[in-house]
């Protein structure tokens, strides 16, 4: 069973090699981002709860409908209050998580439940205080990472996919489906593509859509509103990218577990990473 797939350590030592994988800047920015994104997510959901509807355009339609997502609570005919999530006009019953949550005897009517917000209770002012502090940390770390990655070659070497990476994407995809992972110095095509999307598209978009929601920044940089076709569209994009980053996070964590959590975690803490020997991917040991 489980024991059968473990080779003896002695064999392993003879066939593996430890390298220095992640530079100091990469490791430091990784963990600062992890901290910042944790609080940005939970305080962001707190802020969303103050007006749990998303729109497309310059303004929010109260006398007209330009909403794309709305979370709320409605009382049904038999007196039961249920949580509803309306996405592009389609209503879903999300009682227990979205709209209505908490124990049966202490139901609360809020979009995202207490366990997904900081603070746990409804408090927009504190949500904003937390969000903007970590937004500054997040954006500063992004600038540091960008400059460091341009200088130390991390961006060109590890993030931007090469032609060969693109061509090997199908193979890389199949290997992932088979739970066969490379343990080399460099990232495979799928890894590069997802990191490039997160670091070079999602992160800058998150910062820019966030700035577009600021009335001060809209005066300072009027092109922001034009770029995203309206403040309310920017708010919607901000939310969508949040969802994409949460999906990335879930896949990221699963991949770390699947590829060997100790080795992967060590490489992101100390930089040391054990790579495969000369013969990658022989048969799995079952």
């Amino acid at each position: 069973m489980a024991a059968a797939i473990n080779d003896t350590p002695e064999m392993d030592v003879s066939r593996t090699l430890t390298i220095r994988r992640h530079g100091l800047a990469t490791r430091l920015t990784h963990w600062l981002w992890a901290l910042a994104l944790f609080f940005l997510l939970l305080s962001g959901l707190q802020i969303f709860n103050a007006h749990p509807t998303l729109y497309l355009g310059q303004q929010s339609g109260f006398a007209f409908d330009n909403s794309v997502l709305s979370i709320g609570a409605v009382r049904t005919k038999d007196g039961v209050v249920k949580g509803t999530t309306t996405l592009f006009g389609h209503e879903f019953d999300t009682t227990g998580v979205l709209g209505v949550s908490g124990p049966d005897d202490r139901r609360v009517y809020r979009a995202f439940p207490a366990w997904l917000t900081v603070p746990s209770y409804q408090d927009l002012a504190t949500g904003r205080v937390v969000h903007f502090f970590f937004a500054w940390l997040f954006a500063t770390v992004f600038l540091v990472w960008l400059v460091a990655s341009l200088i130390n070659g991390h961006l060109r070497r590890d993030i931007l996919p090469s032609g060969a990476d693109i061509r090997s994407l199908p193979k890389s995809f199949i290997n992932h489906l088979r739970f066969r992972f490379d343990h080399g110095r460099s990232y495979n095509g799928l890894q590069k593509l997802s990191y490039a999307a997160v670091l070079l598209i999602f992160f800058p978009l998150m910062i820019l859509t966030g700035l577009t929601m600021s009335p001060g920044m809209d005066a300072a940089w009027p092109w922001l509103v034009d770029l995203f076709a309206g403040r309310q569209t920017a708010r919607t994009i901000h939310f969508v990218i949040m969802i994409l980053l949460v999906i990335f996070f879930v896949v990221h964590i699963f991949m770390v577990i699947a590829a060997g959590p100790i080795n992967e975690l060590r490489s992101m803490i100390t930089g040391r990473y054990r790579i495969d020997g000369e013969m990658p991917h022989k048969e799995a040991g079952q």
Partner: protein, 263 residues
């Protein structure tokens, strides 16, 4: 090599354990340190000073907020906060259609003023179609007409030591356990003298409705809605905000909201 690979069952077990810890994320672990006036919270809130300084660096004093065309006025201005003050003085003024209304301009000025609505309407006016951004997250576009606050301050001749403009209001709102408190707000002189900062008496081509702050409200287009005090009873030019309310410069600020609301 197989040591580096794990089977699907082990993977799913490990992933399941990891996923089950996610709901612990938010909970109430941080509630205590984030209460009003807790040290950690004060450190986090200091980011607002940084935002204020950086935004002041990034925008010229006279840089305008975006303005829109008539076609963007697609609905009435959504009222928020107080929509019908019950203060006796206000009700008395309202019954006379605000004919007895006097806007006092006092504090650090050479020439204190007391202006009627007619006098305010006879001063040079500005009309602007702008987007109102509520701190809650929604936006609403409307046309505002009023007298530039800079014009009124020029007439009253603010003294050199003046740093802020405080708006006193007729409406009272619930401040939690300590009962209702008068609404008030404050801004710096840069926003006070900004061309789009007007004391508005008109909305969408009509007199300002009660729900939107009649007889007079301020528009501060580069900040959020809670800065734009409604039902203004008096304006005071000051050098220090600590004597007012709980000393944080506004009704919502006293409850923990940031003083600078350009974000």
């Amino acid at each position: 090599m197989s040591r580096l690979l794990i089977n699907r069952r082990r993977f799913l077990t490990a992933a399941g354990i990891a996923a089950s810890t996610l709901p612990l994320a938010g909970c109430d672990a941080f509630d205590g340190m984030l209460k009003n006036r807790a040290p950690v919270r004060d450190v986090l809130a200091s980011a607002n000073d940084l935002t204020y300084r950086v935004q002041r660096l990034l925008m010229d004093a006279d840089r305008l907020a975006p303005e829109f065309g008539e076609s963007e006025i697609r609905q009435g201005q959504r009222p928020n906060g107080s929509t019908e003050p019950t203060d006796p003085e206000y009700i008395a003024l309202r019954q006379q259609d605000f004919s007895g209304y006097r806007l006092g301009i006092t504090g650090l000025v050479e020439k204190p003023l007391s202006l009627t609505l007619t006098e305010l309407r006879n001063m040079p006016s500005r009309t602007q179609i702008t987007r109102h951004d509520c701190v809650e997250g929604w936006s609403c576009i409307a046309k505002w007409t009023g007298v530039p606050l800079a014009r009124v301050l020029d007439e009253a001749r603010a003294k050199p030591e003046a740093r802020y403009v405080v708006f006193h209001c007729f409406d009272r709102m619930d401040l939690g356990l300590s009962g209702p408190a008068a609404y008030y707000e404050s801004i710096d002189l840069i926003d006070a003298r900004h061309p789009q900062t007007i004391l508005a008496y008109g909305l969408n081509g009509r007199p300002l409705p009660i729900a939107n702050g009649a007889p007079l409200r301020v528009r501060i287009e580069r900040q959020l809605g809670y800065k734009m005090a409604k039902y203004i009873s008096a304006i005071e030019v000051v050098s220090d905000l600590s004597p007012f309310g709980r000393g944080r410069g506004g009704f919502w600020e006293d409850l923990g909201y940031d003083w600078y609301a350009g974000i």
